[in-house]
């Protein structure tokens, strides 16, 4: 069991003052093995905070990030899965799943974690799975109205990944889960 936190678009302090308290109390150091951050933190303090949660932190650049040295996209392997990370403002039309699927094919990955729209998505297609953890602070977005704070925790176990999405709705944390399985014989997930 490997826990991977997918989180992003916090936009601290441009659009939000801080992570919701309920999320903060849930995100405890030492429990999460990897963090995939889609970007738009935006400041070093947030980077340091995420670093404190897990030493294996991967960040891609959002268009408002203070640190411009984060890469445009990143790929890594966790267990049997190949994962990719990209903020998403680079892919036009924004939030378009077919265009994102193209990036997924290009990076040759099973799971693409992407952001920018501030809306949670877990979409399975021929080439794999696209996951958007939304905005962890519920930050303003020109694309999505009524953003609820959300983040995603993936539990990777062999050829199976369980995606838990945590959403803060009217002050309560609601959890949902989605299962994805990868077939071992083919190159990519079906």
């Amino acid at each position: 069991m490997v826990l991977v936190l997918a989180i992003g678009d916090l936009h601290i302090p441009h659009r939000a003052p801080d992570l919701p308290a309920k999320f903060k109390s849930m995100l405890v150091p030492g429990k999460i093995q990897h963090i995939l951050c889609t970007g738009n933190l935006c400041i070093k303090e947030v980077h340091d905070y995420l670093k404190s949660l897990s030493p294996d932190l991967h960040i891609t650049r959002g268009e408002y990030d203070e640190d411009v040295r984060y890469p445009e996209n990143k790929t890594l392997s966790i267990g049997q899965f190949k994962l990719g990370l990209c903020h998403g403002h680079q892919i036009v039309p924004w939030g378009d799943l077919d265009s994102l699927a193209m990036l997924q094919r290009q990076l040759d990955i099973d799971i693409l974690v992407t952001g920018h729209t501030h809306q949670f998505k877990a979409y399975k297609h021929e080439g794999g799975v696209i996951i958007n953890p939304g905005s962890a602070t519920g930050a303003y977005s020109s694309i999505t109205y009524d953003v609820n704070p959300s983040f995603v925790l993936m539990d990777i176990d062999g050829l199976r990944v369980v995606v838990y999405v945590y959403e803060l709705i009217d002050g309560e944390v609601k959890v949902d889960k989605i299962d994805f399985k990868k077939t071992a014989t083919t190159q990519s997930a079906h």
């Binding site: 003052p17 303090e45 680079q90 193209m102 080439g127 020109s142």
Partner: protein, 789 residues
């Protein structure tokens, strides 16, 4: 004249030896019931205490040895008198024949103890006799220890009510009288020590006096233990008598210690009820006494007392504790002209702590304390003493912590005045404390007036307050400061749009004075705050009738325009560009075509003139394309102008691959996959073909310059875009076009010298996708059927 350390050890040893030697013989005499001999040896033993050679510390050791022996003697006396060998009165007479006065008095006290226990005479008479006889010893150290012995043996034999030694109706006053007399005499001896010996040894004497202070203080303990001393008696007799002695002795050391002792030893409710008397003593003390520590002690004790139970609180109101303390402090500060500022502030901190604990609802009291501080600080230059500034920060933090709500602190008119007296550095520290308090309590500041007051308080962070701005501000610290201001802006909110707009304008008014260093931090949060308001108003489209509303999206966009413009002075063109695009999108959602167009214009101007870095250009153009793609408010003309510009700039990016990607991104500008969206198939194809041409050119360039293949991957990306529009039903994208492109790529990849594994993988997954679509069946399967891979 007190001797040298080494000699002292020797003398002490000799004294102890002397005591042990005589004690031995004394015990032998006691064992053989030889009273006379026992007394003789005891006198010799006690004579060791006549020494002047020892410092108090060493004398104490000697004294303790003698004390032990005297206890044994007392037991013997008790047995003898009980047996009837000798009457206690006879014994009392007998011991007075001892030659030297000191041994005589020790023995007398010892017998006196037995005498009282025997009850053959009233306790008060014996005690009176003893306390007066002790006058015979006027040497300070010897006298103090003798009287201490008296205190020790008498404390369980006082004629207290309820004790077995209780006398007539005045019994308690006799007990009190005895203790107070002993106390008074001891204090006199103690004070006399100060004036003995040469002035150069003053420090040494004070140190030695300190060692003896508990001997004197013990009497006050005893007083507090007397059952018969109730509040009335304490008020009428005990306190006035004790204070009289404290004041009259005019000795700094004694006064400080004894005032402290009184406060520690007697119950807090007594202090509350005698507050006036107690406080009245302070101005009468020597000017060098550190009154503030004592006063602080008193206030701290009373604060804790107040916190102990709610029933206690009315008492505080009844005795007007606050005004009494406040006045007393005022008088002390007035009287002690040389008191340093830190001393006065410390007093006010204690008073404030007291006030917050006892009268938290009385904001007027809290403000009064702050006002007194302001008075003390005014007329001086800004504080430089770091201890004093630390105290002021403590003073200002106390209400924040107590009320957990900056809004309450904002109601205190003197609060900002105190802050004004801080130096710039500390003022900023305090401002950060205030912001942290707001963040921690997630306080929402909801009116423009409160925001105005708040920003006045924290103005040290918002702008350069005076000309001489510290250039040595640490960059990290500055960033942290400004980021906390940024976070603060999100805590300023009101659901009423009119009020919210006022808040936004107030904030804007302040941050605009921040200068180029601060604007990049403070402008974005304000912009997004305003955009949230616009969105809020969108939902309330023209529902409000009649009244003059100033909170309209149009008005807010004007403000946004001016605010973002300020970023150009920093200069922060990239940030401004992003914010303009955000506004354009928001204007689009409000159906304000000219406003949206204007924002796009500004964004393009910045792109043209200010974004020079090629990497930044790539990001910027994609942001422009992405935003433009989502616009549905533009009419044909405006849309054409903007898309033309976007595609133009895309083709002019520095690197060919970047050009290629930006151009095929532009293809989406002509196809919006919505019901009323634009679906211009021809122009889409134009873009894609242009992208192909660029990709070709890139190939050729690579062949020529590096002799290697170029970015094959570009062709695969373009293929994927063709597939996208093919699926969406663009009639210009036919299966034969696709077939042609697939063959082209295959050829390119075969003629390649070196192969690019990622390109291979990409092509493979693309082909897999096509295969998958073919196998889907239905309309999609049919569409893909002609394509062979």
């Amino acid at each position: 004249m007190l001797p040298h350390g080494d000699d002292e050890e020797k003398w002490l040893a000799e004294g102890i030896a002397g005591i042990q030697h005589n004690a031995f013989y004394m015990h032998r005499a006691l064992d053989s019931n030889d009273l006379k001999d026992a007394l003789r040896y005891s006198v010799q033993m006690l004579s060791e205490l006549r020494t002047s050679l020892l410092s108090p510390h060493k004398y104490y050791e000697l004294y303790m040895r003698a004390f032990d022996e005297l206890r044994k003697m007392e037991m013997f006396f008790r047995e003898e008198t009980a047996r009837g060998t000798i009457s206690v009165i006879e014994l009392y007479e007998l011991v007075q024949h001892a030659g030297n006065i000191l041994p005589r008095l020790y023995l007398l006290c010892t017998v006196g103890s037995v005498y009282i226990k025997s009850k053959e005479a009233p306790a008060k008479d014996v005690l009176k006799d003893l306390v007066e006889m002790c006058r015979g010893i006027q040497h300070p150290v010897r006298g103090l220890f003798l009287r201490s012995y008296l205190c020790q043996i008498s404390r369980d034999k006082l004629p207290d009510i309820g004790s077995e030694y209780e006398g007539d109706a005045d019994t308690v006053s006799h007990a009190i009288e005895f203790v107070i007399q002993n106390f008074t005499e001891m204090n006199k001896l103690w004070v006399r020590m100060q004036h003995q010996g040469p002035t150069r040894e003053k420090d040494k004497r004070e140190k030695e006096r300190s060692q003896l202070r508990d001997l004197v203080g013990k009497n006050l303990h005893v007083l507090s233990q007397i059952e018969g001393v109730d509040l009335d008696i304490y008020k009428e007799t005990v306190l006035p008598r004790v204070l009289e002695q404290v004041v009259n002795c005019k000795d700094e050391l004694a006064q400080h210690y004894l005032m402290d002792c009184i406060i520690q030893v007697f119950p807090d409710e007594y202090h509350l009820q005698t507050l006036e008397t107690l406080l009245g003593a302070f101005p009468q003390l020597q000017p060098t006494v550190d009154i503030k520590t004592v006063l602080s002690q008193l206030m701290d004790r009373l604060s804790i007392y107040a916190a102990s139970s709610i029933e206690v609180l009315p008492e505080f109101l009844q005795v007007e504790a606050f005004s009494k303390l406040s006045n007393a402090i005022g008088k002390v500060i007035e009287a002690q002209v040389d008191m340093p500022v830190v001393g006065a502030i410390t007093l006010y901190v204690s008073l404030l702590t007291f006030t917050l604990r006892v009268h938290p609802d009385r904001l007027d009291y809290v403000d009064q304390v702050l006002g007194a501080c302001v008075k003390k600080l005014s007329g001086r230059a800004k504080l430089e003493d770091s201890r004093a500034t630390k105290q002021i920060v403590a003073l200002l933090s106390a209400p924040l912590e107590k009320y957990n709500d900056i809004v309450t602190a904002l109601k205190l008119p003197n609060y900002p005045r105190v802050m004004d007296h801080l130096d710039n550095g500390t003022n900023k520290v305090m401002a950060v404390v205030i912001i942290q308090s707001i963040m921690k309590n997630t306080t929402c500041i909801s009116t423009a007036d409160k925001v105005e007051a708040l920003f006045e308080l924290i103005k040290g962070l918002i702008r350069d307050v005076d000309e001489t701005q510290d250039d040595e501000i640490d960059e990290e610290d500055f960033k942290e400061e400004q980021n906390s201001v940024a976070r603060l802006i999100h805590m300023l909110h009101n659901d009423d749009p009119e009020e919210m707009l006022k808040i936004i304008c107030t904030v804007r008014k302040h941050i605009i004075l921040g200068g180029p260093k601060r604007l990049p931090f403070t402008v974005p949060p304000l912009v997004f705050s305003a955009l949230k308001l616009v969105r809020h108003l969108q939902g309330q489209d023209g529902d409000v009738i009649g009244e003059e509303i100033s909170a309209t999206p149009k008005k807010i966009f004007q403000i946004l325009h001016q605010t973002i413009e300020a970023l150009l002075s920093v200069p922060s063109p990239e940030l401004a560009l992003r914010l303009y695009l955000q506004c354009a999108e928001a204007a689009n959602d409000c159906d304000l075509e000219p406003v949206a167009y204007e924002f796009f214009t500004q964004a393009f101007i910045l792109y043209e003139e200010e974004v020079a870095d090629s990497k930044a250009q790539v990001t910027a153009i994609h942001l422009i394309i992405g935003t433009l793609q989502r616009m549905n408010v533009f009419g044909v003309e405006n849309r054409d102008t903007l898309t033309h510009k976007a595609t133009g700039y895309s083709a002019k990016l520095l690197k060919k691959p970047d050009q290629c990607r930006a151009v095929y991104a532009c293809s989406h500008l002509f196809w919006v996959d919505e019901q009323d969206g634009i679906k211009d198939g021809e122009r889409v194809l134009l873009c894609l073909k242009r992208a192909l041409r660029i990709a070709n050119a890139a190939q050729q360039m690579a062949n020529v310059t590096r002799g290697s293949s170029g970015p094959v991957v570009l062709f695969i990306e373009i293929l994927n875009k063709y597939l996208y529009f093919f699926e969406k039903g663009n009639p210009q994208v036919t299966s034969s076009v696709l077939q042609g492109l697939i063959e082209l790529i295959k050829t390119e990849m075969q003629t390649d010298g070196s192969s690019d594994p990622s390109a291979d993988a990409f092509f493979a997954s693309t082909l897999r996708y096509i295969q998958f679509q073919k196998q889907k069946g239905g309309a999609m399967g049919e569409k893909y059927d002609p394509i062979k891979i």
